[in-house]
Symmetry: C5
Subunit: 330 residues, 5 copies
């Protein structure tokens, strides 16, 4: 689907009223002009319309239609094929959604192909149109603006990841670790996906910054700025990855500690319980003895037999209590 | 065993009726033709037949017969020797089977040697024969089609691995972790074997993409496409490897957690049990005392002795119950 | 905010009384002079004043205003843009605070932009002013002095980290491990932040030491000295990172050990308790039997029945005691 | 000790009857000949005899006498010094024994110095002598044959390690893990030693394969074959190392699991035991009450007192049993 | 403090009787001579004396006075500044002491500055003086001899570390693991310090071996020998580091195993104890019932009541015993 199309001449946007083919010819004849055609998940047919005007390499076109590429920059004769993977952080599920933007750039045209629902390119077009410097830079300016926007999504996402990580850390160390293991693992998975989207963009931008991409050489300092942001994100992503591993280990150590303390507590409780049981068992045993029905048990006939037996019980309890106290069980 | 042999001239397949030797001469004299001979686990004798026509380096031939090579590309004067390792995922056992394809390529011939039961080359031949562009590209086109097919088996296998990993993750976090440790380990072993098959192919394709392999230089953009797919697989394999390590750690943390909770539960249960035991032990002891047979136990002769003793028991139980309640044991 | 401004000619500081614009012209006309303007979190307006005199690249100016850059060195035509990240160790919270210094350097000027509260540059200016050699080296001398100062903050911070690590180690191995897990994790986070601030400075200094930065080439041996300090810090930071991982593992091993010993102790205690319980239960059972009220219990009528029963109890206790002793339970 | 010495001319072995010095002169004068002197742990004196004929660098000679070198290739003017470390797997102890072979190669001589008891060179000499192609390749042919043999010992050893690893895995996952931890650690140590012996040989062979070693350039394709085998071993060694780490972690997870299950089992058992104890304690308490000797206990005189009391006991048991059942303790 | 000073001409040591200044002039005028001045923790003043004769870079001098450098090689015009870190293993504390040697080398002088108590240079001077070849090599010979000596201290220390590691392994696997965790950690710290001292020396020696250091180019083969030793140590240090990590993990696994076995043992013991308790509780309950004082308990009046009750008790015990046996509790 063609989302937007326009011709930019001398810093002014002109709508393309008629045929795309005419627009191309128009742009070429006037010079200092370029076309920007924005597509969203186009079909082969839609592509064929455009390809009849500009020579795009069939393999690149196939990539652009099927998506699922990794970030890359490919040079075909006089056109450039660039793949970018913008990210979007989904608040509700703490998920990272990976989009895809495919770009064809020539001296006088930009064809942007977007996949996925998120629309990071609308804002870019508005920014480009309102910035004469960018318009003057031509297709390279558009590429710069898009790269800047994509790296911005990385930056935002990495801040969200940082935030999630801090929440996880708090949960790990507050002891309220419900499903903290699963959440750490999930975030690690997200971070790895993040890295997969972002890492291959570094050499792409380095290539441009070093001036090896002719089409963009005149504004490579702008790209250096984007690369700088990207490198900062990159460092942070690696840091997050390393911290998540440490957080899992820390969680394990805390759980082990908890378990160790439970074991120690349990032993202390068991000693206390057993001690009290012993204290009750001793007089019960004595009472049992004097409950026996032998004919000849002299103590039973003593006048003081009963109070004496009670005294014996009490003394036994005191002695056992002292012994337990001394050995630290009570 | 010769599986298939044909001569391709101007995009048309011609069956070789007679001698291979004649076919070679035929191909050379007509130009723009090439032979494709497909072998399956050939013997030395079968090879000798062919080698009498084209000069293949004896070491390469030995490699091709004995198999068990790592993916590589070797240049011998005017021939190329390429080893590829296709994968096959076996659904029942979740195993990855590693095959081997050895290729000899010259200006006007392709000799493909397949080892193992799987037959990924049949489909490739049909594809090549039905695609005039590939046929026009000559032996390089065949190499491209085979590489594409092999990387495709990687891509499929890595999707299967991803699927297995997701199942494992679900088992780890659902708590239903029967033999999850063994399954994580097994999958890790599979992933390492995967990497061994796939990793050395990267420099081979890079070599071709950079145009350093003369025979394939004219369609190196096609190879770039294959390399791209391979790099994507490569990233995913590394990711899987890292995630499996994390999954094992997460499993360990969960088991420790489970154990910790079991220990805490056990302590709570033990306290409850002991409390109830104490509640029963106290009246039992009192009953024991009044069961003693002393002649002079005044309480026994009181009219209210019995109800009083029961009251004492009840009061004792209530007091002990309250004490236990207050200290949180009941 | 302009913190300080001065013109340095032939090793002497002259205060700028009038307009900055005049000062620039003055410096240029006299030769062998340079201006040093120190800013603290300047606004765009304050910058515009200066930028009207010297051509600074707008992207660099934007970076300098918004801060949050990574250490880097960028060349723009005839000016140099350098970002440095000084550190400050906060004693109370054991936190590392990361500051930021942005520097613009030209043949005849230095513009330093400081962010954050800490003021590492005041001391540097005093050092430069009192050292004729540094003044003679011009802007490069200032850059050297600032780099030296920044790397010095790294060196001090890494000593503090070393100290914190040693305290942690002592806590881990003394068994008094209260929140040691959390503290190890926190320190790891600090160390990673440290590395983020310090690591990208290495290639910056290497660039200068190799003489690739024209402006600083004449004193690159001084920079080599700074690089040397930085590399030493770098090694130490990596070492700390590795040791913290080991410390967490060691802590885990010790906690497991503790737990293992608790379990063994508990088993020993349980055996002892149960043994004593058995010793009491046996005579209680015997007493119960002779407390039965059957009419025909011959033993009850024996003259020696009672002492005999007591003897039986005692013998039973001794036998059980011996058995328990022999099996190691008592 | 001189183990064997011979002169090879035009593919034929000739025994050296007389002086080594004469043999050298003989070889040089006839051309297309080379001497191969095999030494076993030679003394300085034995070396001096030979060194008087060919110029060997004193440091290399020292290395060759004292052994304990790492695999390397050194060029001295017109001679080559190569150190190789063959391995031998000792079946009984599952140990890997590391040997050492030092080689001096010139245009017309090979001096091989063997250390350790194992004799991998005897077989090599027989192979060289029976292979005219190798003999024709001169000293380089000998070097090739020895390298091939050494890498073969690596290949065999790595198969043995693989086998040991599989046995370990089976023990880990079968639960029969007696001293499995120690055995995993020992195998890891072996694997690291293996890597130390094998790893430095890779750059040596790469050097030769790239044709940078003049003496061997004419058969570098043969060496590529050896390098290929070595790289395959190398991958496998890394894989083993990684798998051993995983196996230890898996073992730890399984032990924790076992422990966790023991804790859960123990809790279940404890609940069951306590429940049965409670079931017995309740009627015992009731019996105790009716065993009291109060004069006025009306129930005792009821005709149905006894069966009633038994009924009360039974009912109490049933109620308690039901309660325990409902709460899942029985 | 000047420890030793001498002038070496044509392989002969001559003591410097008079002024150092004269000695320098003497050496220069005679040619083929060089001075070697040995300093121990010199003050700035002592250095000034020497610096008046030879031009040493002030930064290098500062480094040499303050020590705490990392191993490095710096070229200043016509002098070389080298820092080395010899190690010393302290038997009693199993500690590694790190020393420091700073060297200034010129065409005709060596100035060695030693820090710390250990004196590795005395032996070196004696070795150099007794070896005409080394003396003939001039200052480069001295540098070689010192490097050789320093790497020798590494080699010895790594043997001591190996020994400590083996002792630790034995303690880990013998089960006698008292403070084994702490000792593993300490050794890891030592190994990391070792690596810090030794690692940066590798590029220094590589520089020399590649012939990029003019002063030492004529004996670079000797340095290759030192580098070889160093690389061997380096491999071993990495191996030790890796093994220590594995040893800690193995220790953890063993402790967990121990704990797991304690838990299983405890459960077995608990079952046994409870079983015996049940065996005693049953007859006690029966005895309690027949101890009740109901008027109408027919069994009490049976002639065989008593023996019957005993039989019931015995039968109950046997039945319970059998049940417990069958369920594996006894």
């Amino acid at each position: 689907m063609i989302v937007d199309k326009a011709i930019y001449c001398g810093g002014v946007r002109e709508t393309i009223s008629g045929d795309i083919s005419d627009a191309f010819n128009d742009a070429r004849s006037r010079g200092d002009c370029f076309l920007w055609i924005g597509l969203h998940e186009p079909s082969q047919d839609e592509f064929d319309l455009i390809t009849s005007e500009v020579r795009l390499h069939p393999l690149a076109v196939e990539d652009a239609i099927h998506a699922h590429q990794r970030p890359k920059l490919e040079r075909y004769d006089d056109t450039l094929f660039v793949v970018l993977k913008p990210l979007q952080y989904v608040e509700e599920s703490s998920d990272i959604e990976v989009g895809e933007i495919n770009l064809f750039l020539g001296r006088d045209f930009v064809i942007s192909v977007r996949h996925g629902e998120a629309d990071p390119l609308g804002g870019v077009r508005r920014r480009v149109e309102s910035d004469p410097d960018l318009l003057a830079a031509g297709p390279a300016g558009v590429l710069y603006a898009i790269c800047d926007q994509v790296v911005d999504t990385y930056s935002q996402t990495s801040h969200e990841v940082e935030h999630d990580l801090i929440v996880l850390e708090r949960r790990v160390f507050s002891g309220e670790h419900g499903d903290v293991t699963e959440d750490i693992y999930s975030l690690k998975r997200e971070v790895l996906e993040f890295r997969t989207a972002q890492d291959p963009l570094i050499p792409v931008l380095e290539e441009i910054v070093k001036g090896r991409v002719e089409l963009c050489a005149h504004i490579r300092e702008q790209f250096r700025d984007v690369l700088d942001h990207l490198l900062r994100v990159d460092t942070r992503v690696d840091e997050h990855n390393e911290l998540l591993t440490s957080a899992l280990n820390a969680h394990l150590a805390l759980v082990s500690k908890e378990q160790s303390q439970a074991a120690i507590q349990q032993n202390a409780d068991m000693r206390k319980i057993s001690s009290w049981a012993a204290l009750i068992a001793v007089p019960t045993m004595i009472a049992g003895i004097y409950g026996m029905n032998f004919d000849h048990m002299p103590e039973l006939h003593w006048t003081l037999g009963y109070p004496l037996s009670l005294t014996v019980m009490a003394v036994a309890v005191v002695i056992v209590y002292r012994l337990l106290r001394r050995s630290g069980w009570l």
